[in-house]
Symmetry: C2
Subunit: 248 residues, 2 copies
């Protein structure tokens, strides 16, 4: 990782790539996670690699939803942990929300490695290993979760999530917030709130809004949440990228 010079025009992006690559070598990230990261890179480039107003607003709404929830849970996978483990722990303390590891390519070994990694940097409790419930409609491994965490959650933040899982969580009646750089993905279209932003920028921005909105009472949070139109925002993202491509 020392071979990338700090003045390289793509330094940030290259370092992020190294992080994901290293996490794969450590067994935290599945190899298809690297391909998914590449797709994210392309879309991040198209939105200008910064938090655009449509994302900032979604992050504010996400904060309101997490504060409004009775049982909020943050779902973590290999890529999320590789890129923003500390930030997720900090957000879970700020809300407060539970943390649960949920993997698309699940192995107990990988779940354990991820949980150990999170605990080594300060997480107190992380759900996911003692999976004792199923999300209905998903096949065996992908549906596994913990009864006291995701299964009974009313609101879940599922960054970098698969479309099927996102839909299955919605079918359970949960409020689903996702972080997905691809405004066209099934996940983006299925979630109640889609944050079209890099997870690295999104998690700290949600936490920033948690601190601001913590003073508000439930009815104020509710009024804010009521203003959200996810479909309209996704159209705005496509218009934004479309205009940007013409100007580049």
């Amino acid at each position: 990782m020392t071979r990338i010079p700090k003045n390289h025009p793509r330094y940030k992006s290259l370092m992020t790539r190294e992080k994901i690559s290293l996490a794969m070598k450590k067994g935290l990230v599945h190899e298809t996670g690297l391909i998914a990261h590449g797709r994210g890179e392309a879309f991040d480039y198209l939105i200008g690699e910064k938090t655009q107003p449509f994302a900032e607003m979604a992050e504010k709404i996400a904060a309101a939803l997490l504060l409004y929830a009775k049982n909020p849970v943050i779902s973590l996978n290999g890529n999320v942990v590789a890129l923003s483990a500390k930030e997720c722990i900090s957000l879970s303390n700020a809300v407060p929300a539970k943390l649960e590891v949920n993997l698309f390519h699940r192995t107990n070994e990988r779940v354990k490695k991820i949980i150990d990694n999170l605990k080594s940097i300060g997480a107190k409790e992380v759900y996911g290993f003692n999976a004792n419930a199923y999300i209905p409609g998903l096949n065996h491994d992908r549906g596994l979760c913990e009864k006291d965490s995701i299964y009974s959650a009313d609101t879940v933040l599922v960054p970098l999530e698969d479309g099927d899982r996102c839909q299955a969580l919605r079918n359970m009646g949960k409020i689903v917030i996702t972080i997905d750089l691809n405004p066209l993905s099934r996940t983006s279209k299925t979630a109640n709130v889609t944050i079209v932003d890099n997870v690295i920028r999104a998690i700290p921005t949600i936490e920033k809004w948690i601190k601001v909105l913590k003073r508000n009472d439930k009815s104020e949070l509710n009024s804010l949440i009521d203003t959200w139109d996810n479909e309209k925002m996704l159209k705005e993202v496509l218009c934004f990228i479309s205009r940007r491509l013409q100007d580049l």
Copy 2:
């Protein structure tokens, strides 16, 4: 690889992902090749996952340039071999053009593995292992090539190439044809001809045009080549994607 059902809406894309992933496990593809593949996937999605007219035209011009050349060479890296090894061998026979393995993250072991793989499926001669020349302006490993192949080539087809290498080859006075799904990349902007298409579709389409244009004499090829405006085509691609995003 048997776990993906043929009727899955993303079957082709998932199978391609499996191919790249398997090639990494075999040591043919570097892990950052998986991230690069993901970026490609995103841009392929944006152009509709098919050969658009701007790509078809670039593939025709590429065929004309390869036929016009005195020493054409096709440069191969891990991703290209993982996705279209047979097609590249077939194209090299049709032109005819030399094949040379050139890696961004070069190790002799990986070069050898790729060459062995190509020979096992029918390639007769593959350059790249006995690298005895340097492309000026690139650091040690990335600049290595063979004197009798890329170093002395007048025209090179470098699919999925790095921006620096593309520029360095142009600085040597060579005609550079690239295949790159990202119309905004430095490689795309630097090459003489940029084929904005998936390498899987592009290589056979170039070969199709080789067969058509083989009957033409050099002056006819030259007239065709003269019509090409790479910058104009790249603008057309951006307009195409931009319009498509509005319609999606």
